[in-house]
């Protein structure tokens, strides 16, 4: 009987405590606010980093542009008439012509490109059309019309 009593008297498992009250709500609210705050901080940090990168790239572009201008000036100086004259006289030992002889040569002169490409007008530069692979493929397929 006492064993049966013990069996009967064994207490039932206690149910889990329900989450109620002020403290848990505050914790959830704090987590939400913190997340929002962190998100904002993250975005600002990201924007700042991008802004900084952008400024660096702009400065780099400015530097490259200045370098291009400098190189254009150097090319122009190297192809100037005075320098050509100096090189012809000094290095090549040439002298001004004293007489002129005219010969007709029926051959195309070599293509000249002694100036920076930027100064060659678009009409004189050959445009090369580049097609993507799918355009080339489409070109192979005979289309009606």
């Amino acid at each position: 009987m006492s064993a049966l009593d013990r069996l009967i008297a064994r207490p039932l498992p206690r149910p889990l405590p329900r989450i109620t009250g002020v403290r848990p709500a505050l914790l959830i609210a704090f987590l939400v606010v913190a997340s929002v705050g962190l998100l904002q901080v993250f975005q600002i940090s990201n924007a700042t980093t991008n802004d900084y990168t952008l400024q660096q790239l702009e400065q780099e572009q400015f530097d490259k542009q200045a370098e291009v201008h400098q190189l254009e000036a150097e090319v122009s100086l190297l192809t100037s008439i005075d320098r050509i004259d100096q090189e012809a006289r000094g290095r090549l030992g040439m002298v001004p012509a004293t007489s002129t002889m005219t010969l007709e040569v029926h051959k195309q002169p070599p293509a000249e490109q002694l100036v920076p490409l930027r100064f060659i007008t678009t009409s004189s530069t050959a445009k090369v059309e580049s097609r993507s692979w799918w355009q080339k493929l489409l070109g192979m397929v005979p289309l009606a019309g």
């Binding site: 700042t48 400098q70 254009e72 122009s76 002129t100 005219t102 007709e104 002694l114 100036v115 007008t121």
Partner: protein, 576 residues
């Protein structure tokens, strides 16, 4: 107890009233500042915290007809020192040493540039190269600022100085093509609005608003750098040889009006520009379009063209040259006082006879003569697009002070004022089948929105093709029909005319001061170039045939050879 509470002290009431009044005053003042004057103070705050910078696009390049740059832009820096920051002796000492070594100056130069002021920024070095400027920025010296700028660079040195012109410190063109084409070469500036601190420096990552600048355009001229240099060299040599005061050489394509070279002296040098020197101001203008002169016997070409075009004379028409022509009470003699008897119209040009020109002008009459003067473009600007271009002075029969003697003198180029460009443009019409072309100097403007190309623009048919052909033959006879003519060149048939004109002074003409000139084009069969040579006040010799013609003979073969013009197969004349 209630009785005590009912009696409130008058002192307490007074204190309360004062407190209330003060409160009302403070609130009212706050309301005035923050509500009523809100706009004013907000604007002041914005002004204090907002900075604005103008961003100039890189200036466009000026190129010759083949694309060789004549004027380029280099990026530079101007170095400033904050006097306030450099009041710290240690900072100043370190900075001076560092800057001196980078800039290649002595520490004393740096210190002297600071001056005696204690406020503001001092300019230490202007136009420092980009690399050096970047080095200084990277050094991070306290109180040292670098302001970006540009500098114009001329790879061909002083070539075409008056034509190209120069820019000022604000990167705006001040003279020549730099000024005339400011809109094309300068682009459109942009602006940057930014938040700044109390020292005026941009706040990193602060509010920034950028309006992008419009890129500038490059300008390609009709000028050929080789022909321009050849013209300038020939002009300088001629001025020195003849001890002249100046001159002009213009080279043009007669079929299009494209100007291949335009050189004038005296002029300034781009490499020695000193804007603070007022005496140089006179040198900045392009004399080929601004200065007037009496062309002399070259004008006989216009007189003869008019008469031939109207069918009044032919090259073989004769008149009796007695050595003197009497018009309006004046006696007009030949330049050499010669008496030639029966003389053809071709001989009038060959011997440059004033009496012959007068005889032709009498045939024409004032109406016809001045009609052709206008048809050849005299009396109005050519429209070449260069600032300061003069219209010339033509006193025709409708002018109140005109007299018949004006017709006579105008017929041989005295008493009429033209610019060198007008003169060569007129004669170019003869070389171009009678069609007067508008001269131009800008061939293309290459910009972000595309390329604009100038097309040759015919103005009017000044004379018929037949007349032009007849005059060309007569002009060829001037060069090749006269033994010893100094304008002849080997291998090419040339058509040309000399001119010698006295310089007008108050009350008449100076007997010992002349302007000599020669205009010629070649080859006669298919003119590819026309050249005007004008030498002012030569001292050694004083005739167009001996001063200006040899310059043409020296210059023209170089140009024809450079242009790849094959010689005339039947040209057997020997060059001088």
């Amino acid at each position: 107890m209630p009785e005590r509470m009912a009696r409130v002290s008058w002192r307490l009431l007074l204190l309360g009233a004062i407190f209330c009044a003060l409160s009302v005053f403070v609130v009212g003042r706050l309301a005035q500042l923050q509500i009523l004057s809100h706009g004013h103070y907000a604007a002041e705050a914005e002004n204090e915290h907002q900075g604005t910078d103008t961003v100039l696009p890189p200036r466009g390049a000026i190129l010759d007809r083949n694309g060789y740059p004549l004027a380029l832009t280099l990026d530079t820096y101007d170095i400033y020192i904050s006097r306030q920051v450099w009041q710290d002796k240690q900072v100043a000492a370190n900075g001076t040493q560092a800057l001196a070594s980078v800039l290649g100056k002595t520490p004393e130069d740096i210190q002297s540039a600071l001056g005696s002021d204690t406020e503001g920024d001092a300019l230490i070095a202007a136009g420092v190269s980009y690399d050096v400027g970047k080095k200084i920025i990277d050094m991070g010296l306290p109180g040292v600022k670098a302001t970006a700028g540009i500098q114009r660079f001329h790879p061909e040195g002083d070539l075409a100085s008056a034509l190209l012109g120069f820019v000022g410190k604000d990167e705006t063109g001040l003279s020549g093509l730099e000024a005339d084409l400011q809109d094309e070469l300068g682009g459109q500036p942009g602006t940057v609005y930014y938040e700044r601190d109390s020292m005026g420096n941009p706040i990193p990552f602060g509010y920034t608003q950028i309006t992008k600048s419009e890129p500038a355009s490059d300008v390609r001229l009709t000028i050929d750098r080789f022909i321009q240099q050849a013209a300038e060299q020939s002009l300088d040599e001629a001025i020195q040889t003849n001890d002249a005061s100046g001159g002009t050489i213009i080279v043009m394509d007669p079929k299009t009006g494209a100007i291949m070279a335009m050189a004038s002296r005296p002029s300034f040098k781009l490499s020695q520009l000193d804007l603070s020197n007022d005496s140089q101001e006179d040198l900045y203008r392009d004399r080929a379009v601004t200065d007037l002169y009496e062309p002399g016997s070259v004008m006989k070409l216009v007189t003869m063209s008019a008469a031939v075009d109207l069918g009044l004379v032919t090259p073989d028409t004769t008149y009796d040259d007695t050595g003197t022509a009497y018009v309006g009470g004046y006696a007009i003699q030949n330049w050499d006082f010669s008496v030639n008897g029966t003389t053809t119209m071709t001989q009038v040009l060959q011997k440059s006879l004033n009496t012959g020109a007068v005889w032709v002008s009498q045939l024409l009459g004032p109406d016809n003569f001045y009609q052709y003067i206008k048809r050849f473009g005299f009396g109005e600007p050519t429209g070449v697009g260069l600032s300061g271009e003069a219209a010339g002075q033509v006193r025709d029969s409708e002018s109140p002070d005109w007299t018949p003697s004006d017709l006579a003198t105008n017929s041989f180029g005295q008493g009429i004022n033209v610019t060198p460009l007008q003169m060569i443009t007129a004669v170019a019409a003869i070389a171009n089948g009678g069609m007067l072309m508008k001269p131009y100097i800008v061939q293309q403007v290459v910009g972000p929105n595309g390329t604009k190309t100038t097309q040759p623009q015919p103005v009017r048919q000044a004379i018929s093709e037949q007349t032009a052909s007849t005059l060309t033959t007569m002009m060829n006879a001037v060069v090749e029909g006269v033994p010893g003519n100094l304008a002849r060149i080997q291998g090419y048939h040339v058509a040309g005319k000399t001119g010698t004109a006295y310089i007008s002074v108050p009350g008449g003409y100076a007997p010992d001061r002349v302007i000599t000139s020669f205009i010629g084009f070649a080859p006669v069969s298919d003119p590819r170039m026309i050249v005007l040579v004008k030498i002012d006040e030569p001292q050694e010799a004083q005739l167009g045939g001996t001063v200006a013609a040899p310059v043409f003979a020296e210059l023209a073969p170089k140009i024809l050879s450079y242009l790849g013009v094959p010689p005339d197969a039947d040209a057997s004349v020997q060059g001088q």
